[in-house]
């Protein structure tokens, strides 16, 4: 199977098929990424498409030394940050990470509540590891942190989450 990086290089050289293949591979992971962080189906879909539009616009800036998925999640993280800033400026918009959302029946409420109680950076590291399945090095690069910091914060987040899930939040 052609690697993501080869597909990206082909796309840089004008191959539309390569882009379509990348879209197929990353559509769902990116949608899930936004969906878990924003709790909004429509915005998750919009931002997933925005991510691909950003790739189209800035494809010349991609260099093979970076993994495509790191590159994509880097864009996605920026879009999430921008979305949160936009929400913060709107008084009627829900602020920050959405913990309790009764409309979302796909996740146990207590998991969301437990995640919401984590410190922001710890939660992001934990989610990038558990859901996006990024390596410690990839997370460190994305969040501009030393890899040992990622390791210690990840353990701290897991430890805290274990206590939270074992406590009152657990059904």
């Amino acid at each position: 199977m052609t690697s993501d990086e080869d597909l990206m290089l082909q796309f840089q050289n004008g191959s539309r098929e390569a882009f379509e293949e990348l879209f197929v591979r990353f559509r769902q992971p990116l949608y899930s990424f936004f969906r878990r962080r924003l709790n909004n189906d429509a915005r998750a879909d919009d931002l997933m498409q925005e991510t691909f539009l950003a790739i189209i616009r800035a494809k010349v800036r991609y260099e093979p030394r970076a993994l495509v998925r790191t590159y994509l999640y880097g864009i996605a993280l920026k879009l999430v940050s921008a979305e949160r800033r936009w929400q913060a400026r709107r008084p009627d918009a829900p602020l920050g990470y959405q913990a309790a959302d009764s409309a979302n029946v796909d996740a146990p409420l207590w998991i969301k509540q437990a995640l919401a109680k984590l410190e922001g950076m710890d939660r992001e590291i934990l989610m990038l590891r558990e859901y996006e399945e990024l390596s410690y090095a990839e997370i460190a690069k994305l969040l501009h942190l030393p890899i040992n910091t990622v390791r210690s914060r990840l353990f701290r987040a897991r430890f805290a989450l274990k206590n939270l899930l074992a406590g009152d939040l657990c059904p």
């Binding site: 882009f19 949608y31 899930s32 969906r35 539009l53 189209i56 616009r57 800035a58 010349v60 800036r61």
Partner: protein, 402 residues
Amino acid sequence: MPINTHPVTNEDVMAYLDGELSPADAAEMAAHLAQCRTCQELAADLQIVSRQLAGWTAGVSEGDGIPQNVVAALEARAANRKKRPASIWSWRFVQQHPGALTAAASIAVLVLAGVLYSTLRSPVSQPSMEAPRAAVAEMSMPAPAPSPVAPSGRTSSTAPKGQAMMSLGMEVQQRPPSAPLVVLTAELHLTARNFDTVRSEVDRILLRFGGHIAQLDTASPTGEARSLNATLRIPSPQLDPALSELRKLGHVDGESQRGDEVTQQSIDLEARLANARHTEARLVEILRTRTGKLSDVLEVEEKLSEVRGTIEQAEAEQKSLNNRVSFATVSLRVTEDYRPPLAVGTPSLATGLRDAAVKGVRAAFDGIVGVVQGTLEAGPSVLLVALLVCLPVYFVWKKLRH
């Protein structure tokens, strides 16, 4: 979750479960886990957390295929790419060539800084002798004559325009017979701090430009400034560069230049000489061919002697004139920058305190002025340097990020 107190840390156990250990470390960890109950419990807890988190499924993105807006962007991009290469003024060009753009911006900033620096550093007002000369130099110049050497570098109001055009220290190669002849004189008054080296410097300048000393007087009165008065003869074409060198000997207190046209005088002299030579030739012919009374012969010889005296005098005048045209005369007066020592007595206490207070206030004021001046002088440079350093770093950082 138990806290592991083994040499194997909790984070190592977690990294093992995440597949982040090297094969050797992973093998060691597996062996340790097989026999360590505490670590087994920790691993189990971590796995439980992961399993619970995995229960959150985020749903499925709806729709088939690539969304229409993405397809449109893709096609627009492709069409745009086929149509034309990135224009040098386009944002796409900026994105494609950040390094080239950074280099171009750096060069532009450097050039701008250089221009600004030279503009700010150049003196605001100078004794304006060079500028008008430069302007004149760009005008068309008539061809000068070989002999006598025509002068150069004239600013005299009496010098004709054509002569002024031959200025600026250019070597005169050729001059039509009608070109004017100008005798150049200059006066230079200087005040020199380092008077001891003036004499040797004057000799060096004369040696360099092929001049000589016509007269030189020095005076060293006790308790007063020493002085040097000299009359220098410098080849006329070298007058300007020689004056430039002489000005460096000290502060210029005064300077004047003069150009006296002697063309007519030279023509008259040549005419007189030609007539006298013609008369001499006729008298010699009379003496040779005619015979007569002795008194007539003596009278002719007397006339011949007079004519020959006139010829010699005219030749001497012509030689002197040529010499004056060929060599400019510079009257140089150099005075020592002399400051007699003050006979200062022991100041009273009040005077001392007052002086100290005045000095203190003055020093504080000078300090403030110095800080302001330093900030104004160095500020733009610091900003430019910061810009030069930050721009490439910013682009490199941006590039590395992506």
